[in-house]
């Protein structure tokens, strides 16, 4: 059964990745945010890391490789730009930061693409050791995986044209708002803002194309993702900046590996305390001045 479900999960990736292939993305450059931190942040590797109580950590250490599931199609968070084979973004930086604290150098971290449909199966089957992929912590998911963090509290927000007068979700009545088919943000619009006209595609890049052409009035999803697009199309789009939901992003971990969860939580806490978190944010998503660091939830 396990083998079967692995192949199903892989097939699902294939399916969903194929679905996303149509997007005509422009190469993503790291956002040129605060100006001070142009250079990639570096995370000192903790050579003395020892989480021997964790099966997952021990196996990864023995293999000399930490497998991390990330998104490959979310600019600013986890994205592989055209012509590159390495993902970049805030999630990637968080993974490197945590990885370093757990004793893995950047070249010992192997990034694997995960999509919404296979994050849980990949963790359950050990295809990845952890998932840092705009992964919202919720109770349903906690039934099958564990979460460290949150390392960021995203909120659903709106990306609009720079000169738009949409100032929040209450201005959406009669407007066309675009999101990804079947996603939580799309469901929120459908349920809570019925006056808005929802348009859905399989990728955000199609939404952004429509926003550019004026076919839709707004794109909605987590603000972190929107920041990525706003940075990519500087001057053309803006993020409204009034999040109307809370999406705590967590690091997904295999269920019942408390030692690993504690270690990752410690690593996140340390990063937030010593400024590495801020460096990572500014390197990928822009100015962090008005961004609050989240409270780690050690449930």
């Amino acid at each position: 059964m396990k083998k079967l479900s692995i192949s199903i999960a892989s097939a699902a990736v294939g399916l969903l990745v194929l679905g996303g292939c149509g997007q005509g993305g422009t190469p993503e450059e790291p956002a040129e945010g605060g100006g001070e931190s142009q250079a990639a942040p570096e995370y000192p590797v903790n050579e003395n890391a020892d989480v021997a109580d964790s099966k997952t950590w021990q196996a990864a250490k023995d293999a000399g490789e930490l497998k991390v599931g990330v998104k490959f199609d979310q600019p600013g968070l986890g994205n592989v730009s055209t012509g590159s084979d390495q993902p970049e973004g805030f999630d990637i930086e968080i993974a490197k930061m945590v990885g370093a604290e757990l004793g893995f150098a950047p070249d010992e971290i192997k990034f694997t693409e995960t999509v919404s449909a296979n994050r849980e199966p990949f963790l359950q089957q050990g295809n990845v050791d952890m998932v840092v992929a705009t992964y919202t912590i919720n109770d349903e998911r906690k039934k099958v995986v564990d979460f460290a963090g949150p390392y960021y509290v995203a909120g659903q927000d709106l990306l609009v044209a720079a000169d738009s007068d949409i100032a929040g979700p209450e201005d959406l009545a009669g407007k066309k708002v675009c999101s990804v088919d079947g996603s939580t943000p799309a469901q929120n619009i459908e349920e809570k803002y019925k006056d808005a006209e929802l348009v859905t595609y399989d990728t955000y890049s199609k939404c952004v194309t429509d926003l550019q052409s004026g076919s839709v009035d707004a794109v909605t999803t987590d603000d972190a993702i929107l920041r990525g697009y706003a940075a990519q199309f500087e001057g053309e789009f803006k993020v409204v900046g009034k999040p109307f939901t809370e999406e705590p992003y967590g690091v997904g971990l295999p269920k019942d590996d408390k030692a690993l969860r504690d270690a990752v939580n410690d690593a996140l806490q340390k990063g937030m305390d010593d400024g590495k978190w801020t460096e990572a944010f500014e390197y990928t998503l822009g100015p962090a001045d008005d961004v609050k660091m989240p409270e780690i939830d050690r449930y």
Binding site: S5, I8, E120, E140, G182, V199, T200
Partner: protein
């Protein structure tokens, strides 16, 4: 989200799939029949036009055909109503129709080839025009001989409706994505459930075509 709610989600998705399916079914039969008629017509212009259309559209991936319809038609200011969801439904229907009609036409053409030439001669000898010969004698027989392969074409179209979810249409695949987002603990069952949904629809279709085949068989 509990099980009854999930089921409701899936039924509404399945309904979306069926709406698209039926519109495209009718459209592709109509267009496919016209194309098949053009393919065997005595007028070279019609023959060339039909075979060019078929060769171009049939050999283009459906995703691209959808892309052209969903983004190209609005660019040309071809719209079918104020609401974008209705527009998207029509665009997807057009794309599926345009694409599937090629396969319907080719299948029908192969059916036409199996009809003894004497049937057309007899029809012409009675004084039927080309159009009447085709409509009264050739196509009705061709349809009956190609019911099984036509069934495969139609089942393929049913599954092809899933591509429309990428272009602002809510259907079974949307319901699946939605459900996965909500119930991360049930990913594998949800995938199975979605497959089961398509399987169910395809099996019903298969039975319908089996029935038609038995019912409409021509004795020779």
């Amino acid at each position: 989200m509990d099980l009854p709610e999930l089921l409701r989600l899936f039924f509404s998705g399945m309904w979306g799939t069926l709406e698209l399916f039926f519109v495209a079914l009718i459209g592709s039969f109509v267009l496919g029949t016209i194309l098949a008629g053009m393919r065997v017509s005595p007028t070279p212009v019609l023959r060339i036009a039909a075979s060019t259309y078929i060769n171009v559209v049939r050999n283009t991936p459906l995703t691209l055909v959808m892309f052209f319809c969903a983004f190209g038609l609005p660019f040309l200011d071809i719209r079918f109503g104020a609401s974008s969801s209705f527009n998207s439904f029509i665009y997807a229907s057009i794309a599926l129709t345009a694409y599937t009609a090629c396969f319907v036409a080719e299948t029908l053409k192969s059916g036409i080839a199996t009809i003894p030439v004497g049937q057309a001669e007899a029809a012409r000898a009675v004084g039927l025009t080309f159009g009447q010969t085709l409509g009264e004698v050739i196509l009705p027989q061709a349809f009956r001989t190609v019911i099984p392969p036509l069934g495969s074409v139609i089942i393929a179209m049913l599954k092809n409706t899933s591509i429309a979810s990428a272009f602002n249409n809510r259907e079974l695949i949307s319901a699946m994505r939605n459900a996965i987002e909500l119930r991360g603990d049930l990913v594998i069952p949800i995938l199975f459930g979605t497959a089961l949904g398509y399987l169910l629809l395809a099996l019903i279709l298969g039975r319908v075509f089996d029935y038609l085949e038995r019912k409409l068989v021509i004795l020779r």
